[in-house]
């Protein structure tokens, strides 16, 4: 059901800077998004999604969760979002072309417009990256 929502409804970013394909799971404290790594990605390099693309994918998983909350729970508009901090990032390997990556974020703390999450990126059951992220929300988009 979450999968059926057009991801552009939930995100302030637009192609070619969209780094999640679908929201696949949502709750107030945990959400999951997926992305198939494609060669036309801005951060595609040498057969893989570069580290910056992986971090952006995690950040947009947070954005999709916030977008869903703003749009379907609060029934307001999608808001701009910014990364405030990347903390304790560990990349075990980069995902390769054609691989489906799934990222689950768990909300650790939410204070006004700032959300702290911990994230895990998987290919199948293999964990390929973990990190903490601080996301700040900005103004509503038009």
């Amino acid at each position: 059901m979450f999968r059926d929502i057009d991801i552009l409804e939930l995100l302030p970013q637009r192609p070619p800077f969209v780094m999640v394909d679908h929201l696949t799971d949502y709750s107030e404290t945990q959400s999951t998004c997926c992305l198939t790594v494609r060669a036309d990605n801005v951060f595609f390099e040498k057969g893989c999604l570069a580290a910056a693309g992986l971090i952006e994918h995690i950040a947009q998983t947070c954005a999709a969760r916030l977008g869903y909350y703003n749009k379907y729970v609060l029934k307001t508009g999608v808001r701009l979002g910014f990364i405030g901090e990347v903390k304790n990032l560990n990349i075990l390997r980069l995902p390769r072309e054609g691989e489906l990556i799934e990222t689950t974020i768990t909300v650790m703390q939410e204070i006004f417009d700032v959300t702290l999450v911990s994230a895990e990126v998987r290919v199948g059951t293999e964990v390929i990256a973990t990190t903490g992220l601080k996301i700040a929300q900005g103004e509503q988009t038009d």
Partner: protein, 122 residues
């Protein structure tokens, strides 16, 4: 290089007292600014990480990839309408026994600091 000569151009490169520093000019016409975000162009935070990685590769003249980050702190937002040049400095580049590099980097413009990074590249 994904961002060199797309998002930024290296204007100059110098080293003083062991600290490597790059002067960069930003390209406000970079098409990604229309996507991030429509009507509100802002340099994506992850592009700073990619930029630091690319500059480190220029310095070291080898392929490097971000492996770990203790932290990347975004102190202020970079808007291409307000910021046209950046100074990226590397106060610490420490080679580890396994060949990876422990790096501290700082991104600033004039007296404003935008990003501080402490990470390992390998």
């Amino acid at each position: 290089m994904i961002l060199q000569d797309n998002l930024y151009t290296i204007v100059s490169q110098q080293e003083q007292e062991g600290v490597a520093t790059f002067q960069l000019s930003l390209h406000p016409e970079w098409p990604i600014y229309k996507a991030h975000f429509p009507g509100h162009p802002i340099t994506p935070g992850v592009c700073i990480v990619q930029m630091v990685q690319e500059l480190l590769q220029v310095l070291q003249n080898r392929e490097l990839c971000l492996r770990q980050a203790k932290n990347v702190k975004y102190v202020a937002i970079i808007s291409p309408e307000e910021v046209s040049d950046l100074t990226v400095s590397f106060p610490k580049i420490e080679q580890q026994p396994d060949g990876s590099l422990k790096v501290q980097a700082q991104v600033a413009s004039g007296s404003t600091i935008y990003t501080k990074l402490s990470a390992t590249f390998g």
